[in-house]
Symmetry: C2
Subunit: 393 residues, 2 copies
């Protein structure tokens, strides 16, 4: 890769997503877009039922399963779409599964609303006509904390199909650091997590989840692909006729989990190039020490940044006060005036520290520390944060 | 682009899709994947609400509208997904619109089943619980003809929201060459067309359609993006509450047309890189004479191939006997035994004529002549077809 046209002088980019990807992965993907394995055609031009495409899908799945140590009780598949497709499809499919297991009974769905993404997910499930029970809602506190489970509304174990959490709230900067244990979550209620913005950033005990899903566009690849890990027993569904007789909405076929699994993720033409990028990203993670290594680095990056911000209390205000629920992926903080914030962003930009503006709904600064953001980049950001505080506080 | 690593020695590829794209488009896309406009980041790494991303979306829309001369009465937008997402979402959204206009009345939906894609679309609409009226079904004849409109079942003008056609049946090799006129289609019934495999291959009088949609992965770009052209009056929908009171299924939010339009196609994170490739493809079409020029070339390519096959009746059997409904995009034919077909494919492959195996459901040979397949490639295929026949018949 000595050739120059695919080299780049990259900024230290902290964008929240679609987000930075490893340069070497992108370079390889660029070559493969034009000419895959020397056949004179790019990967995106090849039929999705060819051996070539099937190998890409299977290799990507294999890498992913190895990284997260996915047990045989669980199945991995891909759908088109992003987080939004994800939370709609989760509700449809798991309600259908619950009805299958309970003679057509309509499930109650427990949602933890701890940020704007879980809020959207809960609203969509309700909008689709399902019986949503919000067990915690931190909106009043600006979604800046996750209360301990003992403060959540108890789950109705007799009627609830799943408890839904958004594991990392990209906009608000909170992250679940521990899975609810049996003292809160009844054994027969499945745990469902949207891990769109922290999947593959840390170890996960998959066996504790009924379903995990995540859009690819943060740690894993380009927008357009969503990864699902589902407990195999959750794939059973009533027939369409039974669904109609239960008065349940039919799952649109492009979002129907059993069809996707049966077709090895190609029921709805898979965006194979996007899948390949995920294959390259996961391969690189495996080569570099797997999930342990990347988790260690992510912990180090986040700790360094939070510690630096904490040195200047009153000048930098970390949005999430409680260290136990601070996101390792999205570090959200404010300065004391819009003017100073603007100056912070513009001076940062001069040092090639980019993508730091907060989400439009909360303002402030957001530094996203996804896998592809190096420790070196974070150190440079930390240097700047120190300098800026010392000059301005 | 004298640089060697992005050059390729490409075969003459006639794959049915995902399909061949112009080499120069892919080379540019490869560069933009790594470093877009010199910012040191690739286009897929940039937030979908940045000015950069919005420009990509708007430029792509503009090119597309210019090519198809889309009138102001119609709106263009993108969703994630492919044909399957397309036909599900069409049914949901247009039933909702019909109810809005008719005080909650449930629409009847007319489907023309002329191949495996329209068959899937009709089955899905029915599966979702809608009242589907199949007005023509050519399955018994192996989907090898499109009868004239006078032989179709009349449409119930009082209750029907739309007539659905699949403009080009990729698997079966038929294509609509004329839009149903008023003698068949009642004025208040909208015409809906899946143009996944022939969009941008020919002129279309958009004003005659209520809705046109197409997956990008044939003539337009990579799998993962679907383009919609909708008459603006079809975007109105009842509130969710009204929908529930009408007993109609709620449109999943990721497939909800009004939300997509309102968010300029970014409601569900748009696969911006895929959109950009469509931008490059449409720009190239405009630079090369627009839709007239490509239509002329596509007519020439298809005419040459069909004419050649017709020279050897009994040796090559064109699947679609009626020249008036033969697809310009997918030329499907058989030889008289599996052995000869296998030999045809293997000898073709030796001459770098690839992607010619028919769809697994119909077998035989299929040559797909999408926009990116050059006249030169078709001439080489024709030479081979002549030689093979003369040697073997």
């Amino acid at each position: 890769m000595a050739d120059s046209i695919l080299n780049r002088d990259e900024p230290h980019h902290f964008g929240a997503g679609p987000a930075k990807l490893p340069s070497d992965v992108l370079k390889q993907a660029a070559l493969d877009l034009v000419n895959y394995q020397g056949v004179g055609l790019g990967l995106g031009e090849i039929g999705h039922r060819t051996e070539t495409a099937i190998n890409v899908i299977n290799d990507t799945k294999k890498n992913f399963k190895e990284l997260l140590n996915v047990p045989d009780t669980h199945e991995v598949f891909f759908l088109q779409g992003g987080g939004t497709t994800g939370f709609s499809s989760v509700a449809y499919n798991l309600v259908a599964n619950y009805a299958k297991k309970h003679d057509g009974k309509k499930a109650k769905l427990a949602y933890a609303v701890t940020g704007s993404w879980s809020d959207k997910a809960a609203k969509e499930a309700s909008r689709l006509g399902f019986d949503v029970d919000v067990v915690v809602d931190t909106k009043e506190g600006g979604y800046s904390n996750i209360p301990s489970y003992s403060d959540w509304k108890p789950i109705d174990a007799d009627s609830t199909a799943y408890l839904y959490v958004c594991d990392n709230e990209t906009v608000n900067g909170t992250e679940f650091k521990e899975v609810p244990d049996k003292s809160y979550l009844p054994e027969n209620v499945e745990l469902v997590a949207d891990m769109s913005s922290d999947i593959l950033s840390k170890k996960v005990d998959v066996s504790k989840y009924g379903l995990i899903y995540g859009g690819a566009q943060k740690n894993v690849g380009l927008a357009g692909l969503t990864i699902y890990i589902i407990k195999k027993s959750l794939l059973e569904q009533p027939t369409d006729k039974e669904m109609a007789s239960y008065g349940l909405p039919i799952v649109p076929i492009a979002l129907h989990f059993p069809s996707a699994v049966k077709a090895n993720s190609t029921y709805n033409t898979i965006p194979i190039f996007t899948c390949h990028i995920m294959g390259l990203v996961t391969k690189k993670l495996l080569d570099n020490g797997g999930i342990d290594a990347i988790e260690k680095q992510n912990n180090e990056k986040a700790a360094l940044l939070y510690k630096t911000l904490e040195k200047y209390p009153g000048f930098y205000n970390i949005r999430v006060a409680n260290p136990a629920v601070r996101s390792n992926m999205n570090v959200v903080f404010t300065l004391n005036s819009d003017d100073v914030q603007k100056r912070f962003l513009s001076e940062a930009s001069e040092k090639k520290l980019t993508g730091l503006a907060g989400h439009r709904s909360v303002g402030g600064i957001r530094a996203s520390l996804y896998n592809a953001v190096s420790l070196e980049s974070v150190k440079l950001l930390v240097d700047f944060i120190n300098q800026f505080a010392e000059k301005n506080q």
